[in-house]
Amino acid sequence: MSAPMSSQGLSAIAETAAPASRPLRDGLLQTDPPRLLGSACRACSTRLFPARDFCPACGSDDVEGGVPLATAGTVYSFTVVRQAPPGRETPYSLAYIDLADGVRVMAQVTGDPDALRIDMPVQLDIRPVGRRDGCDLIGYVFVPSLLPEAA
């Protein structure tokens, strides 16, 4: 995974071969082991995704970044999107996932849309979710825990 381009000079970018893959957004996730990265407040323990350098719960600036978040969660609410602007293939399932460490994440859920239920257990999967400028964009989805795909 490449370092943030913004921290490098122009010459460095030109000399660097295009990476085969990069995250959807810098600082969002890690691939080994696969984890979403958030922030944790040292004052009140509130966790947040994506990471912020302040705590919206207690207002503290004493916040740790790059914290690996729980990979297991449950569906808080879900929908099957059947119409979207051009460029997105429909249908797809979109859900709010409540992670075991108290963080809510919006993400797509794989598998049979008709099997989706509120409170059903799901598991994080880090995977390519698209391509941009010739390289894979690494993003995240959730997989129903009880389906074979999660095994």
Partner: protein
């Protein structure tokens, strides 16, 4: 503090216009209707405030030039679907600050030639990158609302049935025919559980008002009893940490309190509401957030007719966004036009009896991790 009045209002019928009917033409026609209604001439207008989202750079100046209002201060205001009301708030502040006495406010949008498949957050937004579209957000809200409060799909659909029944009598509405509960529930699915008739349409349109101080009214030769803009709340969303209720609508609660406090009123004083029903479920949870309907009872209230014209709290006598149409930047000013007509007894067959105090609510946009981007609350009295 200087009182701010609506001297006159005007709009064009919302709908799907030919490409030859440009953004500028829509805005100019609405503005001329408002100027005529106020008996105002170009020379009376001291400043122009224009709300829009997709009009492009200096759209307000393009419109002002066509109106012969070049030279004056002209500003463009974007708060997504709250853009029109935000423009009104800027005019209201300018008048209260004593910077001008007569201002023209226009909300305008031309969507049908540039928006396909529904509106989305900005492409940089993390939720947008996951496939979030506005309909999906409201579908997630509806699913959870039904789960938490035992509301039925049919009760939520009744918002569309009610608002389409109201818009039969609104000559400015995009849709002026009733729809049945069966039609709403069985419409093409967009984002489960919401279908096509749970969604406001993609529309073109414009709405405008001439806004005045008491001095301005005198200059226009108008009586001082024109409807007054008593308060305009504006808040933005906050980051929501933890696993709270997505239908909490804290952003609506805060916007409501801001306006109630400023106007010196209580929510129960309000006679009618123009509510941002971009989706059926949105009308329900926002009414609850504003403290106008008890938590979890909005769907039942709708099904019981309590939010219909003739009910305890008429909501969207105009037909709302679902039926009047939703040219996003124009909507806030269309709500203000409706309140103006209601408060002056000019609303014809959709007139709410005893309409003396009205609230217009807009919610614009989303920002990943928050409970919304912007909410405006306009309180007007007769």
């Amino acid at each position: 503090m200087t009182a701010v009045h609506i001297a006159g209002a005007g709009m064009v019928r919302f709908g799907k216009y030919d490409p030859a009917v440009t953004f500028e033409k829509l805005a100019v026609e609405a503005a001329r209707n408002a100027l005529r209604d106020a008996g105002a001439h170009r020379r009376d207008i001291e400043a122009v405030f224009v709300g829009h989202v997709f009009g492009g750079p200096v759209a307000g100046q393009r419109v002002a030039t066509e109106l012969g209002l070049g030279g004056r201060p002209v500003s463009n205001h974007e708060n997504y679907c709250a853009s029109g009301a935000t423009a009104l708030r800027e005019a209201w502040m300018a008048i209260r600050a004593g910077l001008c006495d007569v201002a023209l406010v226009i909300g305008v949008e031309k969507m049908t030639d540039r928006i396909k498949g529904g509106v989305t957050p900005d492409a940089n937004d993390l939720d947008a990158q996951q496939g979030y579209v506005m309909t999906a957000g409201h579908a997630l809200s509806a699913r959870r609302y039904m789960h938490d409060h035992g509301a039925t799909r049919e009760q939520i659909a009744m918002v569309a049935v009610k608002n389409h029944a109201h818009s039969r009598h609104n000559p400015y509405a995009q849709y002026q025919r009733p729809v049945t509960l069966d039609e709403v529930v069985n419409a093409r699915r967009i984002a489960d559980p919401l279908g096509l008739l749970d969604c406001s349409p993609i529309s073109d349109g414009a709405a405008a008002a001439v806004v005045c101080s008491a001095t301005g009214l005198k200059r226009l030769g108008l009586p001082t009893d024109r409807p007054e803009v008593r308060a305009i709340g504006l808040v933005s969303g906050t980051l929501r940490a933890g696993l709270g209720d997505i239908n909490e609508e804290d952003i609506s609660r805060r916007a409501g309190l801001q306006a109630y406090d400023m106007a010196g009123i209580a929510p129960e004083d309000i006679d009618l509401v123009e509510m941002h029903d971009c989706f059926t479920i949105a009308e329900i949870v926002r009414l609850e957030g504003l403290g106008l309907v008890p938590k979890g009872q909005g769907a039942a209230w709708t099904a019981q007719g309590r939010t219909s014209i003739g009910g305890a709290l008429p909501v969207n006598p105009s037909g709302g966004l679902l039926s009047r149409g939703h040219p996003v930047g124009a909507t806030g000013m269309a709500q203000v036009c409706e309140l103006y007509w209601q408060l002056t007894g000019q609303a014809g067959q959709r007139q709410v009896d005893g309409a003396r105090l009205g609230l217009a609510y807009c919610k614009g946009g989303t920002v990943s991790g928050t409970d919304g981007a912007s909410v405006t609350t306009v309180v007007m009295s007769s």
